[in-house]
Amino acid sequence: MLWSPFDPSNIVDPYPMYERLRREDPVHRSQTGEFIVTRYSDVKTVLKSSDFRSGNRLEWLSRGIEYFKNRDEDLGNIYRAVNSFILFMNPPDHVVIRNFVVRAWDDREVESMIATVVDRQLKDLRGPFDLVRDFAQPVPAKVICEIMGIPIDEFAHLRTLGVKMVRSLDLYHSLKDLLELNSASGEFVKYFEDFIRKKPGKGLLGKLVAANEREKLLREEQMISIAIFLFIAGEETTANSIGTGLHDFISAGIYKQLRQDTNLLNTTGLEEFFRYNGPVHLVGRISKTDTAIGNTSIPANSPVTLVIASANRDEEQFSNADQIDLYRSPNNHLAFGYGTHFCMGEWLGKLQTRIAVEKFISKFPEAKVETQNIDWLKNIAVRGMTSLIVNTSE
């Protein structure tokens, strides 16, 4: 079986499976019927092609909600939560809503706030500690709370929901997954409904609410869904990129190189963080018409899974792709996507990762990974570790 993402060995390390797919069947019709696309050139072509639309998961979830409604299982909260996730949208709504958020999000002066959050988080850490739970996860959750104008002490509760919510982006669900997703969705919707109705004065949410009162663009349910989306997009991905990135760089023994030349984090080194093992492994599209990817014909309405993480290891695009090269240039990786759905928070993800890693290295120049067998999250679309014990000799 070429596509077996849940095999225990592929949960630990999916890259050998990706490599085999690129070599043997780069546009692979999987056992579930969707096409799995693994080469850099093909992934990039589909990302910019107008023959494909977004919203694969939203369409499936919507059908699922309808299907289970007829079987007395109410999963309606899922739709309430994800209906306006910007990454599921298509023109013309996509452009309108994306621009609405971008216009409100004019405050990019967040560097000193991030530095403060990171400093506070590092202050009491002494080895051994859990790099993921005590550092990589709380930092972005607190930062996105600050940005959105949510009280910072709510971060832990919202993060727990966020982890469950990210399941909505995953490729395969059991009914148990859907029920869990539905309950997390319900809590999230309730939280932001209350929050928005209180007319928040500050932060990005305050600005969005105010802008919407003027422009009357969004219904309340859309505003709630966008708030949930911004929260999880802002914290889950960054938590995983800081955690996985530090792990890879410490284990590969190039931590020292970074320590000696921290300026690398302002330049090529940071990009390599995202190329080598960025958190977003899979994104979905659907073909709008009969079309083709490379030599493979794709009938209309076929689900297509783009393996971003595989594209970023494609030897045709990156020499020594499985090696970390802190000086790699050019480095046109696809970790933040490409085209109209290019990540809106790319600048924020990079800024946070840079500050978090810089400060971490300077406080713990001799960090060593203690965890032997890493426990990975069950998600295959957005990958991350649940825990990582590191020791330090300071």
Binding site: S4, F6, S30, G33, Y67, S174, L175, D177
Partner: protein
């Protein structure tokens, strides 16, 4: 659980989903061919889990895409 028992349970579930008479369901026809989609798969998988107190990964349904091969997989995995 026995092979026959699990196979019959799966066939019964498929019959309920597709409204085909159970005796017309061939164990070697693919789930797609029998008219199941990714949603009916979620439900059938759930019912199998409940019936036998086991946990199955959604993708396994399509890794072993006929009633007969899926039954063999379940027996192999869980009858130890």
């Amino acid at each position: 659980m026995s092979y026959e028992e699990v196979l019959n349970f799966i066939k019964k579930e498929i019959a309920e989903e597709t409204k085909f008479p159970i005796e017309k369901i061939d164990g070697n026809t693919s789930f797609h061919g029998l008219g199941l989609d990714s949603l009916s798969a979620v439900l059938i998988l759930h019912n199998i889990e409940k019936e036998y107190g086991i946990e199955l990964n959604p993708i396994h349904f399509w890794d072993y895409p006929t009633p007969a091969s899926f039954t063999s997989f379940i027996i192999k995995e869980y009858s130890r």
